[in-house]
Amino acid sequence: MFYVSLLIMGLIAPWLGIYPVYLMTLYCYAIFACAFNLMLGYSGMLSFGHAAYFGFSSYITAHLITVYKLSTVVAIFAGMTTSCLLGLVIGFIAIRRSGIYFAMITLALSQLVYFVCLQASFTGGENGIQGVSRGDLLGLVSLKDDLSMYYFVFLVFVMVFLFIQRVVNSPFGQVLKAIRENETRACSLGYFVDRQKLLVFVISSTLAGLAGSLKCVVLGFAALSDVLQATSGEVILMTMLGGAGTFIGPVLGAGIVVTLQDTLSDKVGSWVTVIIGAIFVLCVMAFRKGIAGEVHAFLSRRLEKGAPSENP
């Protein structure tokens, strides 16, 4: 019921006067955060370098559209494939360690991707790639109009959301949760832990790439800031603030952070960084479950109190 009402709200949102490009950017970051949440919330793996897939895929899509004039959907798929492969390589190296080392390795390797993007000829260095045209959807509908682009992005977002729900609620998802809770136990039960972790890593990186490609088509450019370490930090914040390990959490977190940055960036300059840092500190110290997580826990406690005689 909750989700149906959100779906309806999403469908009618442009008619309510909300700026479609803002909503589309939000959906892109929400996809990014949901993809990240697959790893952090459901598998317990903190990747500190997720911006690599987001940004690199965005660059590939932008390059293919501007230079090779590929159609939008093909370019987005190509971007997704690239980030899938990138995730495979980085994941293969990073999975060798776990926990804190895993985070540090993903951080270092994403920094490598950043330097490659900075120096490679096709990425345009500090300027990024400009003038990415939206093209059309499989030759049927032109996406240059904000409204049709909005429904396309919304559709993709809903599909990704349902896909993630399917992954988490599948046997594979259960194994991931088992790995998150007690990796040694899962291994001793006979599950190929490394393979599962690599698989979720690749799924996560592919979806992050999808988010990046979509974003570059929506906004019309691919920027170096997309592969910056700061963007990796932002997606961690979105997921943590919204609630890691919940479905709606990352979407909520993405909404808050994108809105915050939009409204505050021209008013307070560098204080945005301070505010983001402060929210991080607040989340870690007092608010570890995030908003959705705390609400969920609160509601569970209320339900328990309402039926005390169930479990004597």
Binding site: R97, Y101, V281
Partner: protein
């Protein structure tokens, strides 16, 4: 007679052979720079390793403390006319006290839970530090003068050695050695190492472990601040000077292995030198060579060269 009119510098260079088609002067100059960078990597990874060993926290804010050390020196000089030598002692002290305060306020509560939260907290703190300093002083770099005693360069025949850079290498290596000696060869260090392995037992012996932890964090970040003061005359003092450095230091620590003090020092130095050589031979790769080496080392030896787990 003709040869005496020609400048002796030219004569020396004429007598030198090129290595790989690059003049020896350039290679040795890069070797010096590599040693310089390497000594910074060594000092910072040392502090990181010490903090991780005792606290179990990966101090993402290490780069921020390095930056704060440089800013403290610059601020003390600009506002109070404090000279370099005093700043070398005062800035790490100030930053160390700040670190102790942060440990008491925030980090203390995170020891019992997943160490990833410590990483995220220190990440948040580094963002706050960066943002505040950027707001106060702007993001363009400030310059800090080289102290008079260390200005100029030595001509040792086969190359020109800037005196300040030699001082930085000597100072950082001495501090690293001092720290290593303190940890491995003194009573205090023995207590520290014991507390790393079994804090409850050490506390049962009557040693105040929480205070030791607090002071260790202060000392670790003071070390980073010391590196910051050392670097102030040679690098632009800017709010972003720590953030990209700390990621390289993370890679150094992964390569060397977190458990070992000596490992951190040796890996830092050698990676700095390797980076220097790469800058000469293949400049485009110089930014990423440390990360590539990290990837290779991980595939071959996941716990790092000197790692214990």
């Amino acid at each position: 007679m003709v040869s005496r009119c020609v400048s002796p510098f030219f004569l020396r260079q004429h007598a030198m052979s090129d290595i790989f088609g690059i003049p020896t002067q350039v290679i040795l100059g890069q070797l010096l720079l590599g040693l310089l960078n390497g000594s910074f990597y060594a000092m910072l990874s040392l502090g990181l390793a010490v903090i991780f060993g005792l606290l179990g926290v990966v101090n993402f804010a290490h780069g921020a403390f390095y930056m704060l050390g440089a800013y403290a020196a610059w601020f003390l000089w600009g506002r109070f006319g404090v000279n370099y030598w005093v700043a070398l002692l005062l800035a790490p002290l100030v930053v160390g006290i700040l670190g102790v305060g942060l440990e008491r306020t925030f980090l203390k509560h995170l020891y019992k839970i997943d160490p990833l939260y410590g990483l995220l907290l220190t990440f948040g703190l580094s963002l706050i530090a960066e943002g505040v300093l950027r707001e106060l002083f702007g993001s363009s770099g400030q310059s800090y003068p080289v102290p008079d005693l260390l200005k100029g360069a030595l001509d040792v025949g086969f190359m020109i050695l800037p005196i300040y850079r030699v001082w930085v290498i000597v100072a950082s290596l001495s501090v690293c050695f001092l720290t290593w000696y303190l940890i491995e060869c003194t009573r205090l260090g023995a207590n520290l190492r014991a507390a790393t392995e079994n804090p409850k037992l050490v506390q049962a012996f009557g040693i105040n472990v929480p205070r030791m932890v607090m002071l260790t964090y202060g000392a670790g970040v003071a070390l980073a601040a010391f590196a910051g003061v050392l670097s102030a005359p040679i690098i632009q003092v800017s709010p972003l000077m720590g953030s990209s450095l700390v990621i390289v230091v993370f890679a150094v620590v992964v390569i060397g292995g977190m458990g070992s003090i000596l490992g951190a020092i040796l890996s830092g130095l050698s990676l700095g030198v390797i980076e220097g050589f790469t800058k000469v031979l293949y400049p485009e790769a110089s930014n990423i060579v440390v990360f590539v080496i990290m990837a290779v080392v991980l595939c071959w030896r996941p716990s790092g060269f000197f790692g214990k787990d």
